[in-house]
Every structure is written in structure tokens, then in C-alpha cells.
Symmetry: C2
Subunit: 231 residues, 2 copies
């Protein structure tokens, strides 16, 4: 019998891809307004993407680096304009996908719920809190705390251990084949692929990457769980 359902956060519970794109675009517009000489939004967006790819998304000084890439001196007005626009846009987009909250309320009556997420603990909790869904989860495990990332099985095992459940009683739900599905299956869980967003065109490359069910949004989850129950 299924006892626990684990969720990925980004692009599974909320639209992280759109948030990032819109927040970055708005930060670029605000930096142009604050005095950036280069005014080509597309060029600046590509350059910012390059900086983020180079330093990682959790680095705190993307805009400072963008100025360097543009050959400009450090300018706190421009950096601050980028930061403020990003923050305000972020709060506007930190909303659960339609139907996520009612679905969590329903699932909570029958299952333990958890989160297994690659990222910094405080940052990932900030997302859950801004989404208003932090009270639904019995356990939240982040790669920062565990010291390894999905798809490594250790992070899945720790989450199960914390809930006192075995792999065959669990389902992992996420948008990425190579982390959520591959790792969930490797740890012995059933897996549900939420096929939407930037990883939706990826195809499973082997039996190890093949999810037990595919849905296009979390709201469809209760409908497929009955088919996943172990005999």
C-alpha cells in the first residue's frame, strides 16, 4: 500500500522556468532604466544567462558579473535596480500551479507528504513558504543538508528513513527524468513524471529512466496513484 508521496519543487509545484525568465527580463529592463549603456534586451539576457551558467544560480552577484562582462565599472545603482526588479517579479510568480493546493489537501488525508529537492535548504524552504504550502509536508530533504543530490539514492533513502517508510510504499513525483525519475526508480520507489516545462521534450533513454506514470500536471496525480499501488 502506498504510504508516502515525495515531490520535487521547481517546475513541479510551481512554474520556476517562467519565474526565472520573467524576473531576469525585468531585472534587465530595470538595469537599463538605471543607466546601463547597452540597451539591447536580448543581448543582455543572453549575457546574463551566460553569467548564471558560469557562476551557478545560487551565486549572489550575477549583476556585478554582468557589468564586468560588459566592460563596465562596478555600479551599485545598476546592481540594486536588477536585484529589486528580480525580487518583486519573483514574489509575483511564486504561486503554486493551478490545482496544486487542493491536490495537496486531498492527498494529505491519505498519505504522508514530503519534498526531495536539490538546492540550498533555506532557499528551498523560502520557496515553499512563499508558495504557502510549507505546512503540508512531513519532511523536506535538501541536497545541501544531505551532502548529495538527486539522482543519488542516499537523498531518497534519507527522506524515507525520516518518514519510517520503505521504498515500495513510496512515489516520487517530479519534472526531470535524470534526477527525479532516475533516482526515484534507483531507490526502489514508484515514479510519476510531470511532463511540462523545459524538460518536457526529454525522452527516457533506458528502462532505468522510464517513469511508472506520466502526467502533465500535479492535479492529475490522485487519478494515477491507484494504478501504482503494489499488489
Amino acid at each position: 500500500m502506498l504510504k508516502a508521496i515525495f515531490f520535487d519543487i521547481d517546475d513541479t509545484l510551481y512554474d520556476s522556468t517562467t519565474l526565472a525568465r520573467m524576473a531576469r527580463l525585468n531585472s534587465i529592463r530595470a538595469m537599463i532604466d538605471a543607466g546601463l549603456e547597452e540597451r539591447d534586451e536580448e543581448k543582455l539576457y543572453s549575457l546574463l544567462q551566460k553569467v548564471i551558467a558560469k557562476f551557478g544560480s545560487n551565486y549572489g552577484k550575477h549583476y556585478d558579473e554582468l557589468l564586468k562582462e560588459l566592460g563596465m565599472e562596478w555600479n551599485p545603482k545598476i546592481v540594486a535596480a536588477g536585484v529589486v526588479a528580480y525580487e518583486h517579479t519573483k514574489f509575483g510568480y511564486l504561486k503554486p500551479f493551478p490545482g496544486v493546493v487542493p491536490t495537496l489537501i486531498e492527498l494529505r488525508q491519505h498519505y504522508k507528504l514530503g519534498v526531495i529537492s536539490n538546492g540550498l535548504a533555506v532557499k528551498q524552504w523560502e520557496k515553499l513558504i512563499n508558495l504557502g504550502i510549507h505546512h503540508f509536508f512531513d519532511v523536506v530533504v535538501t541536497s545541501e543538508e544531505v551532502g548529495c543530490e538527486k539522482p543519488e539514492v542516499e537523498i531518497f533513502k534519507l527522506a524515507m528513513e525520516k518518514l519510517g517508510v520503505s521504498a515500495r510504499e513510496c512515489v516520487m513525483v517530479g519534472d526531470r527524468i535524470e534526477t527525479d525519475i532516475l533516482g526515484g526508480k534507483a531507490s526502489g520507489m514508484k515514479t510519476v513524471w510531470v511532463r511540462r516545462g523545459k524538460y518536457s521534450r526529454v525522452e527516457p533513454k533506458s528502462e532505468e529512466e522510464k517513469p511508472d506514470a506520466v502526467i502533465s500536471e500535479v492535479v492529475e496525480l490522485p487519478g494515477v496513484l491507484s494504478k501504482l499501488s503494489p499488489q
Copy 2:
């Protein structure tokens, strides 16, 4: 003839004291909601004040330190709850005092405007941008960039230099006797004390600390400027 007016930011252009108090109170409530064992809001508020006094207001891990003071283990859910509540409350209170914007619009027709502020450059610019008044100022000088703080005269001199004005053509406007008034006078400017908020009960201790005019809000500034004009 007066040519330039310099402003302090915190508690001069917006209500920084109320922002800090409300944001900290809301962060404490959010941390209790997120699972803090200690539930006495006043006790927690005092403890948080103690932590802030110890590590400085620009330190990034006040809530982590609060947990230590309480003898608790690090808990990213509680830390994140504090951060998110602080941020949301902050944006709600980052509004200029009533009348500040019309006053800046009026003054901008006759004077150059500047900011002289103790603090981190990006943080102080973030405030001006959130307040929506960053385009009014011809120069913004922060202690981080200059390497010294108000009341040291260097920071006032650099601001004047950047605008190409001499001290007798300038007025410094701020809420703190010991930084804005003392430093403004020492650098040769006229000074206007905005007597409100947490420093309103301080009395000038000597002739060096005595402002040329006292007002209770920035909106009164145009009315007193004519009296300050050098003969």
C-alpha cells in the same frame, strides 16, 4: 545662493524605524508558526535585538544566530520563515514619508539633489529604488564606497566634489544630530534637522551640533530654505 541639497535616507525619507520593528515582529511570528518552541513574542523580539546589536544590521544570518541563542539546532524551515516574513513586510513599509515625492519634484526645479548615507552601496540603492525616488538624485554617496562614515567630513566633501559645489552652497538634511548635523556643519554646510523618530529626543550637546533649522518632516523643507541662504 543655495545650489544643492543632500539627504540622509533612513528615517529622513522613509520610516525606517517602523519598518524594522514591524518586519522583525512579523519575522518572529512567522518563526513561531514554523515551529519555534519559544513562543513569547516579546522575549524573542528582545533576543533578536540583542543578536542584531551584536552582529550589526547588515549581517545576513540573524535568524541562524537567534536559534543558537535559544539553544536550538539549525533549522532551515524556521530561518526561511523569518526571512520571507521580513522581506514581505519590508516591501510593504518601503514607502516615502507623505509629501516626500512632491517635495523632491519641487526642489528638483531649483537645486541639485544628493544622498549622503552610511551603509552598503547596493543596500542603500535598493532602498531608493524600492521607494521609487532613485531618479531624483544627481549623486548618491555611501560610506561603503568612500571608506568613511558620517560625521567624517570626507564623505560630505566627496559628495560636494561630485556635484561641483562648495560647502556654503549646500544644505544637509537628516534625522541624526551626531551624524548628519555634526558632519554637515563640520564640512561647512547649512544643516536641517528632521526631528522625528528614534533620535527626536536627543538634544544638541554643543554649538557644533546645533542645526540651522529644525523641521518635523521633509515636506517643511522648502519653507525653511529661504532662511538658510547665505547673504
